[in-house]
Amino acid sequence: MGRYVARRLLQMIPVFIGTTLLIFIMVNVLPGDPVRALWGDKPPDPAQVAQIRHDRGLDLPLWQQYLHYMGGLLQGDFGNTIAGNRPVLDEITQAFPVSMRLASMAWTFELIVGISLGVLAGIRRGRFVDNTVTLFTLLVISVPIFVVGLLCQLFFGNELGWITPTVQDSEDMGQLLVPALVLGMVGLAYVARLTRTSIAENRQADYMRTAVAKGLPRQRIVTRHLLRNSLIPVVTYLGTDVGTLMGGAVITEGIFNVTGVGNLLFQALARREGAVIVGVVTVLVLVYLAASLIVDLLYAVLDPRIRYA
């Protein structure tokens, strides 16, 4: 187990280098120049532009810039923003806790409601509950998230007045509740469907018949015997979804004005702030890698037949 974890951690190094390099190159080939953008509509002074470029190392060849950047990264220096010359790390440490709060609420919602709905539908396959859940999840998956988001904002915020239409304080869990529900909705639908299929399949297994023949109460059969065998595909999805929820909340954060990672990333892209984009993505890559490692380790916990040497 220890060796497996070590190997996986080592494998992260090339993945990490590869992704950062890719992002770095992509940001640089994007049209638009962040330095010129500092002048807005006014004609820039070529000498000053050259000066800033030189100061920031933007006049160096791309590979040198990359090495430079990676060198800084290893010392925990994410570079500075071009506009404002503020440390990128500050922006990241401001945005991440907000996104983490939002994502963890959405994720918990997916986990609890999604699995419960899936179990209900799976053991009552073909009945009313199952049809309702299947239909509901299909609806959620097919409707784009911005529609759900705007509808919730309109309904709960403007019509009913239960919430403020936009989030005023991104630290406040109560205000983040509705955005989190919106964010977790699609994942919830997938979790419910995955659980349902898995449960319905495992329900036919021989060991389930044994469990009934042992005279176990129904609830115990479902929670101890059925659920554990059915959770592996669900865990896989929930694991990778952590990363998606953290970085992919651009639309939800935009609608509800949450100042999280999605928002930061969007702003940075608009302003061609390469250092911010690469920084944020780097952290997200780390989140993804950690999540997938944890998922793989969870497999072994859930199913003893899976062992890592």
């Binding site: 297994a205 021989d206 060991y207 018949r209 044994t210 469990a211 009934v212 023949a213 042992k214 005279g215 176990l216 109460p217 115990r220 101890r224 015997h225 554990r228 065998n229 859930l302 199913d303 003893p304 037949r305």
Partner: protein, 353 residues
Amino acid sequence: MTSIDIKEDSIPAPRSREEKSGRLLDVKDLHVEFHTRDGVVKAVNGVNYSVDAGETLAVLGESGSGKSVTAQAIMGILDMPPGKIPQGEILFRGQDMLKMSNEERRKVRGRKIAMIFQDALSSLNPVLSVGYQLGEMFRVHEGMGRKEAKAKAIELMDRVKIPAARERVNDYPHQFSGGMRQRIMIAMALALEPDLIIADEPTTALDVTVQAQVMDLLAELQREYHMGLILITHDLGVVADVADKIAVMYAGRIVETAPVHELYKRPAHPYTRGLLDSIPRLDQKGHELYAIKGLPPNLLKIPSGCAFNPRCPKAQDICRTEIPALVPVTEQDGASLPGRGSACHFWKETIHG
């Protein structure tokens, strides 16, 4: 505990002597059907059999003869729907289990009647340790704590002769060999010392050397606990050593019943004869092996009259029109043969001719 030869008096069992003897199970005119898209599958069509304490009934038949479905109906583990029991009684100690509430039946399962399944690898839960699965019986039915239950599980594994039980109690089913896994299945069935055990082809998935060991163990434990045993099999070899009486099933009916050795000596039904003739024999080495012609009937469309008639070498017109009842079989002079019955219009010719 010691062997049963010393009789019930010396068994330190909590149950009274009365409870440990007498008629355990009486299946009366049991019908089971499955409602499928293609029509109604009549899997069991009026089965009658009984088991006494300490007795072994072997139920013999091809796949699809309804032997397993009957057992599952007794256990109450049929999937309903699509399964349905339109008719019949299953009396356990005189009480009709089909009329019990779900909760009452659950309490009988595992505690009073236990079942051993064919394929222990798929029948044991792959993600729970064997100790947990064994201990679960005590935790659920007797409210024991985790520790106590584990101690009991180790004890059980010892009883079914699994070496190094203490070290292996936390192992998972896939870490055991086929024979050991089947022992664990047996241990699980035995856990609460039930009155009746139903073993559904307990040795089919095992290789031949292990088969004998497992059967011996089962027979030994059965004697020791004075349990009733229903042994479902299609293997005539397995039956001969352990069974007291045999019921041969075909297309959801019992076609012949007999005490075990009589059946081998003088079958009273052409189907039984066919089964016996298809056992490979050393003295007929080099000869072609006999096989019953044709295939088991489609249960959606059971042939009219005797279900065996299309495959029967002795079939006459009456066999195609009239369903033969299970009638008592007698000697040529009319002397009764207790426990013998045949559902063949021509049983006399078959047994005496």
